[in-house]
């Protein structure tokens, strides 16, 4: 067994490194040339729409799937590659499945002991007890999976994955089977536990909010490739592409034209440096919260087309001259009933501008 202590001795070595990993299913490329490096103790969220290859990447790392090309290193050791393949059981990875995959013929405790078969029985029991206490499922140990609720099953699955002290924990949409209310609580508990243990974690999710909030780093994938990788703030506030900008939040899309280092549009002029030819068409992505609203003062006059009250905030649709589609705006201020005309100002550095392309 490689212990956590031993691993901690060489911090410089990344916990995971992939080099040009590719995988095809028939004519569909699930992964094409993925390069990813993850430091020890990092919590990384792989995020993307379904079919983007994020789950395939996770399975390749676990050894459940074999890559067609490329190499995978776990803790510096090549586990998948042209010359080597380490079977999943010898990779020392923990995996939490979307459906939890608890063995229905074993109790919660036996499920946890399942991964500890290679060590002496007494020691295995000790380790199982320790992780059971840590995850707080002592009262569930004797129960069978069908007697557990969704949240309880998730915790048993987590304990089972952690019990053999894996070098890295892979989680495939681990919270997607839970109700909304329960999901936030279980997610917070799980992540703070993993952080406290200093475990390296890769978590796959399709939920942008979850990705932004859960990980140290977010990796956005699309059609088998990594689009952008960075902190949640990077991806949300400084997306490198229109796709990334759209993925993490609904935006108003405003057409513009680039001239002499300035983008001209119906909502104003924005000086930018863009790799677009003079007179080229660009699209401005304006998040609803980037627009501030007032009754009297502002850069542009606008007419209120529709109001939708959500409680804390109010969503408004505004019509602006020269703008073909109405602008969606959110405000926490209370406008008087029957307000028709308002003024808006757009926060310049929150406007994202990308060259207009046929695809988003």
């Amino acid at each position: 067994m490689t212990t956590l202590h031993e691993q901690a001795t060489d911090v410089s070595r990344p916990a995971l490194r992939t080099e040009g990993v590719s995988r095809r299913f028939g004519s569909m490329a699930a992964l094409s040339g993925v390069n990813l490096t993850i430091a020890r103790g990092e919590v990384v969220c792989l995020v993307g729409h379904s079919g983007c290859g994020k789950s395939t990447l996770l399975r390749v790392i676990a050894g459940i799937e074999t890559p067609d090309e490329g190499r995978v290193f776990l803790d510096g050791r090549e586990v998948s590659g042209p010359s080597a393949f380490v079977e999943p059981e010898a990779r020392n990875v923990g995996f939490v499945f979307q459906d939890y995959a608890l063995f229905p013929h074993l109790t919660a405790e036996e499920n946890i002991l399942f991964g500890l078969k290679r060590i002496a029985r007494a020691e295995a029991r000790e380790k199982a007890q320790a992780i059971i206490a840590r995850v707080g499922i002592g009262h569930l140990a004797g129960r069978y999976p069908h007697m557990l609720s969704g949240g309880e099953q998730q915790r048993v699955a987590l304990a089972r994955a952690l019990a053999p002290q894996p070098g890295i924990v892979l989680m495939d949409e681990p919270f997607s089977n839970l109700d909304q209310g329960l999901r936030d609580r279980v997610r917070n508990d799980t992540l703070s536990l993993l952080k406290a243990l200093g475990t390296t974690v890769i978590m796959v999710t399709h939920d942008p909010e979850e990705a932004l909030s859960a990980g140290d780093r977010v990796v956005l994938m699309r059609s088998g490739q990594i689009v952008q990788s960075g902190t949640g703030y990077d991806l949300h506030d400084r997306p490198v592409s229109a796709y990334a900008a759209e993925f993490f939040g609904a935006s108003n899309k405003v057409p513009g034209i680039y001239r002499d280092g300035v983008v001209e549009s119906a909502i104003g002029r924005f000086p930018r440096k863009l790799a677009v030819g003079d007179g080229g068409h660009v699209t401005l992505f304006v998040r609803p919260q980037a627009v501030s609203l007032s009754l009297k003062h502002g850069d542009l006059p606008a007419r209120v087309v529709r109001r939708r009250f959500h409680g804390e905030i109010e969503q408004l649709q505004l019509r602006i001259d020269d703008l073909p589609a109405p602008l969606e705006v959110r405000t926490m201020a209370r406008l008087p009933a029957g307000t028709e005309a308002v003024h808006i100002s757009v926060t310049t550095d929150q406007v994202l501008i990308f060259p207009t392309s046929s695809s988003p």
Partner: protein, 553 residues
């Protein structure tokens, strides 16, 4: 550090070993058919005209008439009884639901054997009929002879209709009640619903059932012979047993195989449709409609008829005869010996079949590719082939293997091994395995497919090898499926007659061959106990099946 052993080691052969084993099994199943083809082709070409002039025309006509008749009778009884217990609620309907399965326990040769005696011109039944009608001797009045094509069709129909009843009833149950309601609102009367909606939707299931029933009818060698119908199956048997003409037997077997291929094609075609229709979204399943008491009683009576003819009458007759025999002579040592042989052969074959089924089905799970898919397909094709055909194929293959081993042993060691396989019962076990592998492989595959693949992956990431995953996770979870499939195979081995007749070693008797021998000689004494034992064992899977059917509700 146990995992260090695997570090840097090239990919283990785990998956490839499974593929290899599955391929070997598939080949072993295909071998008898290949042997048959080879023998039929290389056998004297001059034999074909002879066959065409003598045996084939009669046998072919008889076979086709029999198949058409049995198909019609099973379709009518099967769909009629299925609709009766699904659409109407009447007293005893719940019991009838599973009682209608009981004739499955009676092999065709046993029902023929029983009715030959029940309906004997000087037997009790005909005597009572004559007494009621006021006749005094069989010369004045007798019922039509059961030893005829009509008799054979009816008797086979009464034990084979469950093959139609089971899938058709399942189909009726999955049909949406909304469809029926929609039809009623569109102006179809309650009576016409069966013809206009339910039956057309269930047609694929009926076709599957009929093709399975006809495969059984083709397999039969006992009933047709007792009742004097000369089918292809009987011709194969007599060509080999009485004339020891292996090429001739294989050529007839080949023509029989053509009919089987047609039946399989029909079954496959129907199943494709079945999948399509089963996809119809259903919200509410069909609820049985309560009927007035007298109508209900009439329905119960009608529904009981097939059970009465197909199970109660022959079983009661056998029980009475067996009791008489037991009171008279007790259990002979022969009977105990036969019981031992029957159970031993069936057990060995069952274990072998389960093991092969596990390998083939598991390979399909861990390595889903073209090789494993074809292995599975090949390995499960034996279910359609009549026992006689498989037996002839096995005979061809193993006889030459025996000759080969014997010759080599004599050359090298100067000893004769004799008939190593043919003489030991290994040939018979081989034939059983070929014929029944579809049951275990199919059953285990169905069981495994209910286990989500993430469980395999979880076990792998938790340190288990592929074999360990199989042992620790899949095996315990598919135990019920394995048990059910094993039981079916065991019972089928006990009931199996044609292959057993052809391949049993000299002087070895099972229940089935003993019964056949006595019936062929026209003596009925001790065979009744053996027949009753077969029927009793045959009831086991019916119990299982009825529980399963209840579950599906």
């Amino acid at each position: 550090m146990p995992e260090s052993a695997a570090v840097g080691r090239p990919r283990r052969c785990d998956g490839r070993c499974w593929l290899f084993a599955a391929g070997i099994i598939a080949l072993a199943v295909a071998l008898p058919v290949l042997g048959l083809l080879a023998q039929a082709v290389q056998g004297s070409a001059g034999l074909w005209p002879h066959l065409l002039a003598t045996v084939l025309p009669v046998a072919l006509v008889d076979t086709i008439v029999l198949l058409c008749g049995v198909g019609l009778v099973t379709a009518v009884i099967g769909t009629g009884s299925a609709w009766l217990v699904t659409a109407y609620a009447f007293p005893g309907q719940r019991i009838l639901e599973w009682a209608l399965l009981l004739p499955l326990a009676v092999p065709s040769y046993i029902i023929a054997y029983a009715y030959l005696d029940i309906l004997h011109p000087i037997g009790t039944f005909q005597g009572v009929v004559r007494w009621l009608l006021g006749y005094s001797s069989p010369r004045e009045f007798r019922l039509p002879d059961v030893r005829s094509m009509t008799g054979c069709i009816l008797l086979m129909g009464f034990v084979l209709y469950p093959y139609v009843y089971i899938p058709t009833r399942a189909m009726f149950l999955t049909q949406s009640a909304n469809l029926i309601d929609a039809a009623r609102l569109l102006g179809v009367s309650r009576r016409a619903v069966f013809w206009r909606v339910a039956l057309p939707l269930a047609r694929p299931a009926v076709a599957v059932g009929i093709s399975l029933a006809l495969m059984e009818a083709l397999n039969d060698v006992g009933a047709v012979e007792f009742l004097g119908v000369r089918t292809l199956t009987v011709s194969i048997y007599t060509t080999w047993i009485t004339r020891t003409d292996l090429p001739g037997a294989s050529q007839i077997a080949l023509s029989l195989l053509l009919i089987v291929v047609a039946l399989v094609a029909m079954e496959r075609w129907a199943r494709r449709r079945q999948r399509y229709t089963a996809d119809v979204q259903r919200s509410r399943s069909l609820q049985p409609r309560p009927v007035p008491f007298w109508t209900g009683s009439a329905m119960l009576l009608a529904g009981c008829l097939p059970v009465l003819f197909g199970f109660v009458a022959p079983a009661a007759y056998l029980a009475a005869e067996a009791w008489k025999r037991f009171r008279f002579a007790g259990l002979s040592p022969n009977f105990v010996h036969e019981a031992g042989t029957t159970i031993l052969l069936a057990t060995v074959a069952t274990v072998l079949t389960i093991l092969c089924g596990l390998v083939v089905a598991y390979t399909l799970r861990v390595r889903p590719n073209r090789v494993s898919a074809w292995s599975f397909r090949l390995a499960t094709m034996g279910y359609a082939a009549p026992g006689t055909v498989i037996a002839i194929g096995v005979l061809i293959v193993l006889a030459s293997v025996d000759r080969f081993i014997d010759r080599n042993a004599q050359d090298w060691f100067g000893v004769s091994t004799g008939l190593l396989f043919m003489g030991s019962g290994a040939a018979l076990v081989y034939a059983y395995a070929v014929r029944f592998l579809a049951i275990t492989a199919g059953g285990i595959d169905a069981g495994l497919s209910r286990i989500p693949p993430s469980l395999d992956h979880a076990a792998r990431t938790l340190g288990q090898s592929q074999l360990g995953t199989f042992r620790q996770v899949l095996l315990p979870l598919s135990q019920p499926a394995i048990f059910a499939a094993g039981l079916l195979v065991f019972v089928d081995c006990v009931k199996e007659l044609p292959a057993t007749l052809l391949l049993r070693p000299l002087n070895v008797e099972t229940f089935a061959t003993h019964l056949y021998g006595e019936a062929a000689r026209g003596t009925y004494e001790e065979a009744s106990i053996a027949a009753l034992a077969i029927v009793a064992i045959g009831v086991l899977p019916v119990v299982l099946l009825s529980r399963f059917q209840r579950l599906k509700l």
